[in-house]
């Protein structure tokens, strides 16, 4: 059922970067991962994940870094150079939620990270969690969202007083890149079809270009079924029958909306993993929920999202067995319903939840 689906589906995330990883392992068998705890509940859930990994004896060496923006030479905002170096070296990152300050003068941290490492693909596998009931069961799909351009280019102008134009940018290169990644992912993870989501009936040139590139790339992957569907049809069908979808690839805005819609189907951002793949083999896995400042420091946070993202990371690194072990422990704890955190319907502490998972891992 959903458990098996998780196991088989998350088997090998991010096929394109496998060769580089075996090299990183040769050094003492320990893989360095840059850990960015984040703000709000970030530090607690990162600590929880580290504890669970320790219990599982994972060969991971964490390098904690802070990514608060600093002003570099030339006045451009950038992340601290030691954080950048660490990430370039380790190529793998795990990130907690980052606060977007309103009036700090610099762009959002997530945006900065994205630009620094050219994280062009956002991958969100959405699979129903056994034990956490939602009106939708048997969801098993992956949304792959182009993360660098599209509607979120941030190019806006005030034409005259009262008229604003916002520019949506679609380029051939970015569209081809994301399409290639989507098909590669589908092939490496034994997914049978890729659906391009678009609105080319209205945005003929931009979404038309995106579609054309997807079609071109589909020619090289004849073993995978390629379909195209309008955004509104996808939304309509998604809420009625999500089982008909497999891998979805789309530009930025549609990806944002659809990936959150799918997260809502399986239970929300508190249980959804997410990975960002970059151009130079960099991959940053993150939890996509907010910083939840109201419960920060109160030991009430739910580390599931960050934990599942970390499992995604393990699979990306080739440590499938370990990933499955930790994942199974997490799901068993949720299915048991004895020590659930508040957002999952229980009233246990984060530390209790974490300890339960650690215990299960040690017992395995």
């Amino acid at each position: 059922m959903a458990g098996n689906a998780w196991r088989s589906m998350l088997s090998q995330v991010g096929g394109a970067t496998k060769p580089a990883l075996s090299a990183a392992f040769s050094r003492r068998g320990m893989q360095t991962v840059t850990l960015i705890p984040g703000d709000g509940i970030g530090p607690e859930i990162s600590a929880a994940v580290m504890k669970i990994f320790e219990a599982a004896k994972a060969p991971i060496q964490w390098e904690e870094k802070n990514v608060t923006a600093i002003k570099g030479p030339g006045g451009r905002w950038m992340i601290p150079s030691d954080a950048k170096e660490s990430m370039d070296r380790s190529k793998i990152g795990l990130k907690g939620p980052l606060k977007t300050p309103i009036a700090a003068g610099h762009p959002s941290m997530n945006l900065l990270l994205r630009k620094t490492f050219d994280l062009y693909a956002n991958v969100r596998p959405c699979v129903s969690i056994e034990g956490y009931k939602t009106p939708y069961t048997d969801v098993n799909l992956v949304t792959i969202r182009e993360n660098t351009e599209g509607e979120y280019s941030g190019i806006e102008h005030l034409i005259v007083d009262g008229v604003v134009q916002s520019i949506k940018l679609i380029t051939e290169d970015a569209s081809r890149r994301i399409a290639e990644y989507a098909f590669e992912y589908a092939r490496n993870n034994q997914r049978s079809s890729v659906t391009a989501v678009h609105k080319a009936n209205i945005m003929r040139m931009s979404d038309g270009l995106f579609l054309r590139k997807c079609r071109e790339v589909a020619e090289n992957y004849k073993d995978i079924k390629f379909t195209e569907m309008y955004l509104d049809t996808v939304c309509l069908n998604m809420v009625q029958d999500p089982t008909q979808f497999d891998v979805l690839v789309m530009p930025n805005l549609y990806g944002d909306i659809l990936s959150d819609l799918c997260a809502g189907l399986i239970g929300g951002l508190g249980v959804t993993p997410s990975g960002n793949i970059g151009a130079n083999g960099v991959a940053i896995f993150e939890s996509v929920h907010g910083t939840a400042p109201d419960i920060a420091g109160l030991d009430m946070a739910n580390p599931t999202a960050l934990l599942l993202s970390a499992v995604m990371m393990l699979r990306h690194m080739g440590l499938h067995e370990l990933g499955s072990k930790i994942q199974m422990a997490c799901f068993d704890t949720i299915r048991d319903k004895k020590v659930l955190t508040k957002d999952l319907g229980g009233n246990s502490k984060c530390s209790e939840f974490t300890d339960d998972i650690c215990r299960r891992i040690q017992d395995m």
Binding site: L169, M205, G208, M238, V239, L253
Partner: protein
């Protein structure tokens, strides 16, 4: 008729028609703001209204035929002027004729006209052309859980008001550098104020307590920021209605987990597309929800999710409920409330009969069976009808 002469003719008609409006129905030129003074387009020919009917593609023609049948059966004083729009033709004559007919009659019922998205950008979406030319600025979709339809969520009652003429659907695209396409999303103050005002007016008129603006102003700070600002401005004039806002991705997440929290939602064009389709899916699918497009002078009614239903065309399996309910909205617009309620009652009682459910609701019923059942329901309530 050449395109040029059509344009000049439509221009002349507009001049004549708008003159008439100001003379005969001075109040009709006011915006929907003063709903109590609003008068429908003047009926002609002895109390019978003329309504433009655009069958469209896919399931449009068969559903339009059923509407005509039903109206004739119930002796509704509406005559349809059918204008066919051929979506395969390159020239815009057909859609211009349709627009002219709507200007003449003031109100229309339409099926969706297909847009082949593989054609070059010079071929504009016919539906979009219609909406923008007639300035049908408000798309209203009322999603309600219907009795007898099994869905994952119950008790949904959301009114979605979507800006219909600008935003991402401005069709302004260009390729400055080969391989780089820019698409403009336009948000203006006037249109945002107008749609916000419409939303609050509708909320007040239907006794609803809460209006939620859906946006993405954290990313599109200027564009959606302007929209949000306009909504807030309008909200200050309606102290009895609670106003809040929500980011679009959070909105979709909330909709699939707890849709009962929403009341009236107002949003720009693209988010409206997403949200209205999500809500339609939540209440049972595209076959159940009617949609209405209102402008200052014209109104066009259609199915809410605007699907052509190409794959099920002419198979007698389409669900006619959405189109029939749209025709009830049409009757309400024409102030033929008695007919509207009679038909609506009959349609809703048919929908609650599970054995008549069409394929989209999980049953095996056919379109004609559903329409026949509606006719029976109308006849059994007693008013004068033709014989079946």
């Amino acid at each position: 008729m050449t395109a040029r002469s059509v344009q000049s003719l439509s221009g002349a008609l507009k001049l004549v028609f708008s003159h008439r409006l100001t003379r005969v129905n001075g109040a009709a030129t006011c915006t929907q703001r003063h709903k109590s003074f609003y008068a429908p387009p003047p009926a002609r020919y002895g109390g019978r209204h003329t309504v433009t009917l655009i069958p469209g593609d896919g399931i449009g023609p068969e559903l339009s035929k059923h509407v005509c049948e039903l109206f004739r059966f119930c002796c509704v004083p509406v005559d349809f002027e059918v204008v066919n729009v051929d979506s395969t033709k390159d020239s815009e004559d057909d859609i211009n004729n349709a627009i002219m007919a709507i200007r003449r009659n003031g109100v229309a019922l339409k099926g969706n006209i297909e847009t082949n998205h593989n054609l070059p950008p010079s071929y504009k979406s016919r539906n979009n052309l219609l909406r923008t030319t007639l300035d049908l600025y408000a798309n209203v979709m009322h999603c309600q859980s219907l009795p007898g339809v099994r869905t994952r969520h119950t008790n949904i009652d959301i009114m979605i008001i979507r800006e219909n003429t600008e935003g991402e659907y401005s069709s302004l695209e260009h390729e400055n550098v080969p391989g780089v396409v820019e698409c403009l999303k336009i948000i203006t103050r006037t249109k945002s104020l107008r749609i916000a005002d419409y939303a609050f007016q509708t909320a007040r008129a239907s006794g609803r307590r809460r209006v939620t603006a859906v946006h993405k102003a954290n990313i599109m700070k200027l564009a959606d920021g302007l929209f949000l600002e306009c909504c807030k401005e309008v909200a200050s004039g309606y102290p009895e209605i609670t106003f809040d806002s929500m980011i679009v991705d959070n909105t979709t997440m909330q909709l699939v987990s707890r849709p009962q929290q929403f009341d009236v939602m107002v949003m720009p064009n693209l988010y409206g597309n997403v949200v209205s389709n999500v809500c339609a899916g939540l209440v049972g699918g595209p076959g159940l929800v009617p949609g209405a497009n209102y402008g200052t002078d014209y109104a066009v009614f259609e199915t809410g999710t605007r699907n052509t239903g190409k794959s099920i065309a002419n198979s007698n399996t389409a669900n006619p409920t959405a189109m029939l309910l749209a025709s009830c909205l049409l009757l309400d617009h024409l102030k033929l409330h008695a007919y509207a309620s009679m038909l609506r009652r009959a349609i809703l009682s048919t929908v609650s009969e599970t054995r008549l459910h069409t394929a989209d609701l999980g049953g095996h019923g056919s379109t004609s069976e559903v329409v026949r059942s509606v006719m029976n329901a109308v006849q059994s309530t007693g008013p004068l009808t033709l014989s079946i």
